[in-house]
Amino acid sequence: MVKVDGSGTKGLIQVRDLDKTYRRGGEEIDVLQGLNLDVEAGEFVAFMGPSGSGKSTLLNLLGGLDVPTRGSITVAGDEITHMSSGRLTQWRARHVGFIFQMYNLIPVLTAFQNVELPLLLTKLSKAERHAHVAAALGIVGLSDRMHHFPRQLSGGQEQRVTIARAVVSDPTFLLCDEPTGDLDRKSADDVMALIEELVGKYHKTVLMVTHDPLVAARANSILHLDKGVLVEGRPAPHMSSAGGIA
Amino acid sequence: MPAVLKLVLSIVLKLLAGLALTAVAILALLIILAVVVGLPLGLLAPFLGSVPISYNFRSIRARWTSTIVAILGIAGTVGVFVAMLSLAHGFKATLVASGSPDNALIMRAGSPSEMMGGITLDSIKVIQDAPGIARGPAGPLVTQEVVGVVPVPLISTGTDANVQIRGVSPNVLEIRRFVKIEQGRMFNAGVSELLVGKNASKTYSGLTVGNKIDMAGGHWEVVGIFDAGGSSFDSEIWCDSHVLNDILKRPNNVFQSATVHLASRDSFKTLKDALTSDPRLNVDVTREVDYYAKQSTQMTTLITVLGGLVAAIMAVGAIFAALNTMYSAISERGREIGTMRAVGFSSWNVILSFLFEALVISLAGGIIGCLAVLPLNGLTTNTMNFQTFSNLAFAFKITFNLLAMGILFALVMGVLGGLLPAIRAAIRPVAAALREL
């Protein structure tokens, strides 16, 4: 269940009255104004909106990469807006899996070593870590490419490795920022199919930002960022989504 | 180990050594080639290449921290290089400049230096009658000299230095015509008065005109300061030879050397033949300038070798630094380079452009390095010359030649630092360069 009016009660993720203001070149820009969101476990939500609408800002806030000007964000019972930076870092390691549009993989590490990165922060033994990594790479179907370097992988394969890394430590939810942004149609499809499987088969919670309506259509809910808050359904005509067919 | 195995091993080692030497030789050749070709190309790049130099200057400005680092690195190396060479040059100049080609030095045969020699008064009398010696109103222009070292405190540390003291004949200034009295007057014969060299006066305590000092067990008054044109004599103290023999408790009729003023520069041979063939004498005859030049060989070699080693090591380090900086600069500009080439500038132009940039940077570094050490010019320091056992004051001597060498050195470092990265940048496939984000 996904709500944007602040009326949800049993969400995994609960956002109330979220404000975020930037100062840019002497001006103050209110990107998010009183935003509310409730997301239950197992949901797959897509956020859409024109560039500059604050989609990435919202994602950064939900992932603990940024702090809001006002408001609260609660994930699995933890209120993260007032956590210290150190605690937030630890929280992220435990609860969030990130999939960015690019720069995800460390070029000097193999696919295997990249996926292992989140596990190095845990107390698991080497054998345990390797088991988890193998499993994750199995899920994304790249077991045969474990020891390749990112430059030896195609764009789509790189994103799948990223997904493996995002799920390897079994985080509470996944945040994707334009995961298919740089990919061709076929690779994009493969990646989306994988994400759908994570939601459908492995019951992961996924929040995704995208500008591509075809990609957004794969999610269970689509929310639009309009005037600093989330709205369900299509936005007002003067703010049409970028290109494509809905 | 069986003999056969030893033999095989020694052959293998010799082969390896030979290979290593060949590799080094090839490397050296490549480096020389790179410099000989790269330097003029780089300097002429603005005329040969079509990439506008404004691009280079703008790039330099955009990455000014890295540029400053490279410039300072090269400046430091060039500075040390020029400083060490000018130290050696100053030392050598002092000794090499000593003496006059119109004078000849006569010592006991086989003496490596004056201090080891011994010539009796009788021999002096024979020498005075020899052909080829100039004559003054009072007779042949010969100065028979006693040479020793006496302890005098250094102004800089307060501890004693072994200063060369030279007992001369009263007519010494007629023989050593390059010596001029700059302050005070010549000493009076038979009196314990001192005439001190200008460097000696600046380096050792108490050697000022009018000052009375106790030295070597005698009481002396300093009556004059002389200027010997920057030669080793400037570090000496002169006095009457009889007085010195007395004070040093040496036999009165024995001297260490005799210096004569030649009738003409060419009469050297006449004099030498006459003296060496005379059965009453056992002497060597050398031109004064040659003798002093020889006295400097050990020390000059030492300073040159040490200084050269230091400079060579620093040069390698500086080249590493330059290479590092240029590689980093080029890696940061990978996309720019790709764009340039995609737009149509050939690899050749890219190379020229970067070579030029490297040379501009290294030239700036070289100039700064040279400017930084210029204040050292004329700075006097002193050291002990092993060969004569005496302290020698000398000055850093920076000449245009040395500065030019410093600049050239900087440019060579620039070429070597810029050529490889430039070539690498130029041959990298354009697509790869453009893909870099």
């Binding site: 990435s56 | 070292v149 900086t325 940061e332």
Partner: protein, 382 residues
Amino acid sequence: MKFARIIFANLLRKKVRLLLTIGSFAVALFLFAFLSVVNDAFQRGSDVAGADRLVIINRTSIINTIPLSYRDKILRIPGVKVITHNNWFGAIYKDEKNFFPQFVIDPENQRQVFTELLVSDDQWNAFLKDRQGAIVGARTAERFGWKVGDRVPLMTTIYGSGTWEFNIDGIYHGKNPLDDETQFWLQWDYFQEHLSDRNKGQVGWYVLRLNSPDDAVGVSKAIDDEFDNSPYETRTETESAFAAGWVKQFGNIKILIISIGSIVFLTLLLVTGNTMAISVRERTPELAVFKAIGYSDRTVLFFVLAESLIIAVIGGALGLLVSIGIVPLIAQKLGGLLPALILSPSTLVLGLILAVFVGIISGVFPGLNAMHMRVVNALRRV
């Protein structure tokens, strides 16, 4: 250590740059070792000089002699344990370039005064019986390939002209690594035979051993007072003071060396710091991903510092190792021009410390930048 793979993978990212930076450290540390060695060579005399030994020279001039007859008078001064005398022989072996110090010694007391210069009793006894005998220091013997039993000609320059021949009866070694092993010792008696009467019975200088180092000042004064106003006035000081004074005559070697060394290290610091900064700048987005995944700011700082330190230690160690190999070669080439060039362990330790220091400083600023970098800024879409 789990993060080792990450750190090393990052180091090997650009191999050429890695090699060049390591090379820079190696060169700088090699130069440091070389400069230290030269500095040590000049300072050496004053360090090993015995604290309980005094040197007595002629006050008028160091090249003037002192009578042998003074010896008994000196021995009577309280505090003097044993005394020996030396003369500078200063001859040439084949070529002036083959310089090494030659001393006429007093065999009876030489070993009691110079207790750190060791000769086997057999060789010493053979020497005592051989008027034309000579004892050579190990270094000089090695330099010319001399062995016990060889006959060596020396061409004198000070004592008339002519060649004197000596039989090598023994080779001495220094007890400590820094002791002088270049000297050539010959017999007083043989020396005296060849001098004119006028020159007999004169020594170049005395060296004596005190009962206790505390007596140094008192005994020095007593000796100089004893011979004050005599035809041969003396100047007595401790061996270390004498050596130190000698070193000071070489001018500002120390200052020169420290200046050069400082310039070198500053330059190294600049260059390495810049390289680290560039390397970190290039990786900003990757470091941001680390932070996003949950690596703390301090861990990221640690990554950068670790890299910097590894380069510093490897490069520094390499440079120092090379110096261990090359310094002896240079020492050979310079032959007699400089006293022994020896690399002391303290130089190596100091060098490593300096390398680490430079490594830390050059890594700390880029590291702090990486630490404070905000993920959201770094990952802003291009």
